[in-house]
Symmetry: C5
Subunit: 275 residues, 5 copies
């Protein structure tokens, strides 16, 4: 299936109205499926194939797939964003190359994010890193600037570094979620603990900060991935930011369709997968 | 006892008038009991149960319990603060995850603290840390900004790091208290030494800087905790900032009631605990 | 052949019109050959001989050779730039002397680059260095300033440091190219992988960010060098930034002539080398 | 002798006129005895007893004892300074707790120092520390700001850190004195070498920068201390900044009286000690 | 010979006109002899004797000796500069005490340098130091500020630190000279390689950036020193900055006289030394 074919089927979901401010500007009934495409900087092109390396393909996929938002770094937003899907601009980032305690600093100003039309800024905090304080401080400043520009501030909170043994241990995931609330994030993107009960606790700890599951690497099967998503929804999350599990799929619109039925229509996995 | 029940009993204490500026804006006859709830960032949700994780519960507890102030990080203040109890906004913080010499940097601007209605800003200085100078410097700037916004500046002074053997040794606690005075804090929050005489010296060394005891982890019994508080009052402190010993209690309003009789009415432990 | 003689032969290429903004201000039909002369700071005078050490010689060579642009550090631009060839001002730099993880910081302000008439700023990012985050952050700020001054921002992306085993491994070169796109560079200057297929992937990953090959050290023969250039063109690059392979040549204008026929007229190596 | 009694005896010295600008605003015929009280931050309360811990006692002592100036950190100045003695505000400081190369950063802004009525700012530079450059840089900025506010800039120059074997070696003390001159200090506060001849050289090296001896720890006897002071005066210093040798004395006003006769009236030790 | 006698003999050289801007404001026919006196901070008073420690002596020497400029740190300029000789203000500096990789940061603002009447600012870059990037960056900013104030920017470029084996190796000296040109210095102050041919290469590499020899420690004899100077002139340098070889001399005006005949009148060593 060529790229053209892949993206020709259209689904009838309405994206949330673009004039709402902040995080409500891109949720549908307090649920959302975001298409993440910041892997080019974070992981490098090893994640890509001949089709999905192309931001234009992803932009079209975000549009045709009816995603609630698309996540780009500044360069992609400036060169490929077409305004048809809400934009979440990732304002910090790093490559996977340096060793040592992780740190990512601001690459895009909040003002620039507003200029390219972002509804929200995203910022990664490596919790537990020896540089944690630098990222907490920088997020604190960015969150205030984003709100001054009527944009939401979303924190990617990833526990990482020598002090972290297991980044999906329930108490660590709950700590990540809570940190998002404490530092004033409108939403937090965290990994799934793997079971509903422990993730429910993380969602509770995030309070009024909305929780998105981080999609993570490609799952072994679609059904397995959808069950994870069902789990995070049952736990109270508003949705997920998904990248590889969609655009590494041979049929990205199909999995997007399943995800929307699951997340936006709150169906069961089985029901979502029916055509 | 469910959360609703827990907070329905009302006590007749009057909170200090909200129009006073600075630290007198939230003390009662130069005494005060502050409800601390910055543990979500500092310790993570391991401190919480199904009731007390919720900032709304804490906000209601602060109100119903007649506390002189409630201590929140920016995120909690922005999403849960209702203006019914004076707000102390903690403007720096860290998680308990990173190893190495402790450091916490500013996460909330003083301007933002003023906008959400704070009466005071709180800032933690890890005395003796290899990064002590960065925190002394940052507090120095924040204290001046806070005063320019008619807010008090409260220093949490915690001796910590490789150079500190015993953070409640009398000379260390007195040093912490004195540092608060020297750097211009309106109040200092320090640990109890464990006995009245040595803490009296710390309070003296703090001079016109008011001393709050740091509540610390949950005590073995209520009476033991109240005796500690009685000790710090006898030593000259103006009160305490208490968190876990209240909201980890099965009856938080009861312990709040005891604390107010002890601190605000200056009663004995035995008298305070009579119903 | 003396310096005078070397530069007297003129070729009839028209340089791109100087009034276009950004990177199109110095490309010819989306192709370009840039004359790099920032080696004086990066490598020191060991690269130079009695003729090519002289920026005036290089300036004249850029003009007579019909290059699309000349690359100078601030000092050379201020003292030797004559406005007859588009200027790319390299705004950071380092010497080759310090050991340890590489880092180069901003030496020339974007405002100053604009004042001396630059069409673009160049900035080196040592990908994988322990200081990568400082350079990504600084480039992010400079890119925005450059665009505000109607200048292009070109990223030299060089994977280097302890974490990099082989800086021309295909996946590393592709990662460098992609990073240029992600951080908003208008063009990226990267090393050649050595074969067309793998470099094609790098060029694809760079998307709308134009790719220049980094000329590198003097090749064993002209034909070998030209075949490398032909390879990068076949892979989709817009051209190259070349220094030593031109100005270390005994006949710089001849090799410049070859390069233009190859790059700007898109000829074969054999055809380009015909007189 | 209680605190009240201690400070009731008055001496008839006139403090220098408060309207003069800069360092002449607090010298008497180019001589001065300053009462240092920044030990609360630098050493902690271990230096204090039940009387001298109190800044109000020190403020009264400075006034009754006719000192040329009193040295406070920001917090003491804001809460205890009464305007009756010229104020030197110490704008940086550290505790004695952290190990490693010493560093003290700015805690009080120059603007704030001016607002509380300071005639001069004081700043400590740990010469030879691995962080020396940070303090030289910060002092450079503060000196310029202080002069813009018509305040003097006094440098406490203390050679310290792994590279310093003996901080009162004549060549080290002379280096400290000279550094004060080179970096633009109006006065320098340095340790005594122990003999007149070597200290004379240090004073010469300080040129037009006035030299104050640093009082240091309590001497074994009053006469021994006064002989040190006599030595520094004979060497050309303008006086001293004295703390512990006055306020740790059982009769601070007596030693203050001796010091003024010695320093301001330029008497011999024997003559100064006559009643 | 006492200080008074030393400086009474006058020579009839005219200093360059003070109204010219930039580096031409203090050269004579593109040649210059600068009197360096920043050793008080860089080396400490061990370089001084009872006469030459005194900036007033040096100021008079600069005037009577007809030097093209005098080099002071901020403190000396503010307290001793009399406007009779062009002033080069050294705006960064360090002591010789700290071990480890060398670094010197800005101590005097460019604005302040302009206020005290400087014609140029001087800044030291320790090439090859692990902190090289911080100094290259700071010089870059200062150079632009200096030019905005119509002052020249002179770079002292000293290869130093663990990565430097021999700081007068020809390729290292040429690298230092070239760095001055690349970063936009109007003049560079570097060490002599020891022979004309290799220094000629360094001067060539400096291009339009003028080269001053760094005077260095006292030579074994006057004639040996003058031969070094003759060598750097023959190599194309514009002159030297000389300190110890003048003011450690028993007859500073005599050696100044020789230097001016050598440098400004371009005589041979033998001719210059004739009376």
């Amino acid at each position: 299936m060529c790229a053209e074919e892949v993206l020709t089927r259209s689904y009838s979901y309405n994206v949330t109205e673009g004039t709402k401010l902040g995080i409500d500007g891109f949720l549908s009934n307090n649920r959302g499926v975001l298409l993440a495409f910041d892997q080019g900087l974070e992981h490098g092109p090893t994640d890509f194939n001949e089709r999905n390396y192309d931001p234009a393909f992803i932009m079209k996929l975000a549009e045709e797939g009816g995603f609630n938002g698309v996540i780009f770094q500044k360069g992609l937003a400036e060169k490929y964003y077409n305004g048809k899907v809400p934009l979440i601009l990732k304002v910090n980032g790093k490559t996977s190359l340096p060793k040592g305690e992780p740190i990512a600093r601001q690459i895009c100003s909040v003002k620039r994010a507003a200029e390219v039309g972002a509804k929200a800024v995203g910022y990664t905090i490596y919790l537990g890193s020896a540089h944690e304080h630098l990222m907490l401080e920088e997020f604190g400043r960015i969150q205030e600037e984003a709100h001054a520009h009527d944009m939401a501030a979303i924190a990617w909170i990833y526990p990482r570094g020598q002090s972290i043994q297991n980044d999906i241990a329930p108490e660590i995931v709950a700590y990540a979620a809570r940190t998002g609330l404490e530092v004033g994030a409108d939403a937090v993107k965290i990994k799934y603990t793997g079971d509903v009960e422990t993730f429910k606790w993380a969602v509770k700890c995030a309070g009024k900060t909305k929780v998105f599951m981080s999609g993570g690497p490609k799952a072994r099967s679609e059904v397995e991935f959808l069950r994870q998503v069902r789990g995070v929804l049952d736990a109270g999350a508003v949705g997920l930011a998904v990248g590889r599990n969609v655009w590494q799929s041979s049929d990205p619109l199909k999995i997007a369709h399943y995800l929307k039925r699951l997340v936006l229509e709150d169906r069961s996995v089985e029901d979502a997968m029916k055509n």
